[in-house]
């Protein structure tokens, strides 16, 4: 069975799916990712599907599952690089990819993750600024 590699870039895990995965490979990827999130304490996962020419209901479910697993492990998942033909087919198949955040490419995905982490941690700072403005 092939195994999809997981790269760590700063505080983010990057998975670039380069092969037509068998179902077993997809399940293994879920497990590998969960372990790496816990082992590294990373707060972001980017799954690059630029190379995938189809996403069927199995892989679609895998993407949703990864997003949910990441969430319970306190990490954010963004799927990037979905081809237009894949997006069209997914919708017609009936998959909604609920709860999955998507971005155009890896860079945008990283921005999205950075922004949502800042939200969470800097709400305090933001509030302070608002206060200053309000009282001055």
């Amino acid at each position: 069975m092939e195994r999809v590699p997981i790269l760590k870039i700063g505080d983010i895990l990057l998975v670039s799916i380069q092969v037509d995965m068998s179902d077993q490979t997809a399940i293994q990827l879920q497990e590998d990712l969960a372990e790496r999130i816990v082992a590294t304490g990373c707060h972001g996962v980017i799954i690059d599907i630029t190379a995938l020419d189809i996403v069927d209901s199995f892989v679609g479910r895998m993407l949703s599952t990864i997003a949910s697993i990441s969430k319970v492990l306190d990490a954010e998942t963004v799927v990037v690089g979905m081809r237009p033909a894949v997006a069209i087919t997914l919708v017609e198949l009936g998959l909604s990819l609920n709860g999955i955040r998507t971005a155009l490419n890896v860079e945008r995905g990283m921005e999205l993750i950075a922004a949502s982490r800042i939200d969470e941690w800097d709400e305090a700072d933001l509030d302070e600024n608002a206060e200053t403005t309000a009282t001055s």
Binding site: D20, D53, V55, S57, F58, R61, A85, I88, L93, L95
Partner: protein, 139 residues
């Protein structure tokens, strides 16, 4: 409804493992490219084939996919027959309901595949097996 005549010799792929499902996808892709389906139509057909090949493996207990090039005078297309000798499907209406599954799936395979192709035929008999024929035509 299944119409059109076969061109050339159909290619058959046995489906008895995970990897065979991957092979079905690749065979269908190659044939769809040869028939010059548009990129979106290729994607739809390969996705439908992936769903049905997985069902053949998981619910049908294995079987085969026969991939052929067809033409009906005006257009060319790809026809695929998925066949297994598994338990069959007792209630087709239920099986075609979005979200219905007897396994752990999303219940979108049959209904979704039907939406993705131009022709969709199903024959099934309890205790005998299931045979699904799909066709996608060039536009």
């Amino acid at each position: 409804m299944t119409t059109g005549v076969d061109l050339g010799v159909p290619a058959t792929q046995a489906i008895s493992s995970d990897e065979d499902v991957v092979r079905v996808r690749q065979l269908v892709r190659t044939t769809a490219v040869a028939v010059k389906l548009s990129l979106v139509d290729q994607t739809k057909l390969v996705t439908a084939a992936s769903e049905l090949a997985r069902n053949t493996l998981i619910y049908g207990g294995g079987g085969s996919a026969e991939v052929a090039t067809v033409e009906d005078g005006r257009r060319r297309g790809v026809r695929i027959v998925f066949a297994d000798q598994g338990p069959g499907i007792p209630d087709l209406d239920q099986a075609f309901t979005d979200g219905f599954t007897t396994g752990g799936g999303l219940g979108l395979g049959l209904s979704g595949a039907r939406r993705l192709v131009d022709d969709f035929d199903i024959w099934t008999a309890v205790g005998e097996g299931t045979r699904i024929t799909i066709t996608k035509w060039s536009r």
